[in-house]
Symmetry: C2
Subunit: 284 residues, 2 copies
Amino acid sequence: MGAKKKIAYLGPPGTFTEEALDKFIKDISQIKKISYPTVVEVIKSVDRGEADEGLVPIENSIEGSVNITQDILTFESEAKIIGEVTIPVKHSLIGRKKIGLENIKKVISHPHATAQCRKFLSTNLREAEIIAANSTAEAVKILKKENNDIAAIGTKIAAKIYKLEIIESDIEDNKDNKTRFVFIGNRIQPKTGEDKTSIVCFLKEDRPGSLYNILKEFAQRNINLTRLESRPAKKDLGDYVFMIDLDGHLHDKNIFEAIEVLRKSVYMVKILGSYPKWIESNKK
Amino acid sequence: MGAKKKIAYLGPPGTFTEEALDKFIKDISQIKKISYPTVVEVIKSVDRGEADEGLVPIENSIEGSVNITQDILTFESEAKIIGEVTIPVKHSLIGRKKIGLENIKKVISHPHATAQCRKFLSTNLREAEIIAANSTAEAVKILKKENNDIAAIGTKIAAKIYKLEIIESDIEDNKDNKTRFVFIGNRIQPKTGEDKTSIVCFLKEDRPGSLYNILKEFAQRNINLTRLESRPAKKDLGDYVFMIDLDGHLHDKNIFEAIEVLRKSVYMVKILGSYPKWIESNKK
């Protein structure tokens, strides 16, 4: 048997990213997980060859800025997206002991997690002091060293890792909230028939119709866009970038053609990747 | 003289939001600033009539999720955007005393601020422990009670408020980084000739060309889009929402017509506001 595949992920252990990794990988014993403290370091570990693949949040994340993932992939790395996985954002209130809510004096978590549980907190823990942590996993870890009247908002996997108690499950305001994660690697994945392609278009000017003209190339070829976002660019690389996710693979004739036409009309097109679409039934 | 206009903002005192407020308001003595701890509470204070206007970050913020501002305005409030202001994101390393970088053992800030200064931190403060706070202003405030070997990343205004020292200025990685803030109120602003309009389109299905067809209405009428973002919607309000910023005013004939046409083809259009465009020379 060869060496285990090394997969870098946004740590510390117990993050939603680790939960997503465990959900995606059919046999976790076949891989070596490596935790990195930031999104940048996960992506750079792949660029440097330290890890074979990396997993980072890209949309609707609570463990760090989504923008940072898109910016690093767009401006600072040649790594490609080779897969995606989406998991529901489920928050738990975690304590050292299973105590009543009325006994909780402080709540610690990442500011995004506390923001996502604001209704629960304002209804049940109105008087509690809100303390910030760098990640939900860090919050749970800190709890180990604290008093019984402090609770953390975090994942069930983190409560398990640190041998703590779940005081209340599913305390998030929005039950439909999901986070999308992407696997990073060094290749364009082969076509499976259920694929997605992520590209970035760099534009040197902001004119009426410039975005429309880009979309026309896809609409005319019956290509469905699943996500689109315009962002200011780093100045020397155009004035605007459009981040686009498409249904289909780069090797599909209509998609390849649309991109070839775009290359002539915009400043630059960067392919972030073509990869199998996440389908809920893929789950273990 | 009547009562002073009450303006709610995302606090605590010393945030970038307060800096933006001071920059926008010509005569700060004519208003009463009210600090609220969350974006939601700022917007709701306007909905409840506690404040006349509110100021919150909406794009590229470091003091809380941008998504929360858009989501509250889209799904949970009838407040309108009545103005905008953009300021550069300038971070300072702040200490109790002006000590050398080699003497700093811990750095405290909001996770977004530490992410935005990662190059500075990894070059100059590689060994320092990174501690999280709920806002940069909270980080600076906490510093007051700490030892001299702890530094905070925050605004100059916060250093001034808490009578602390600037150890190093402009430590952010990206010198072009800006945050856009919006004023919230209860009206569509009158036309000035240099305006912007923000709308949200709700779509019940995700088809090839659906976004393209929306943009066609604007392109054909020579209306420039300055920002576009597709997001998943809350389920009972359509499957996707498109957040669009346009150059021009709702009362411009071409914009009004384009929106009227859209109302027939999408599930719902919500007007978030028409308001004077922020022009850098507006600054005091």
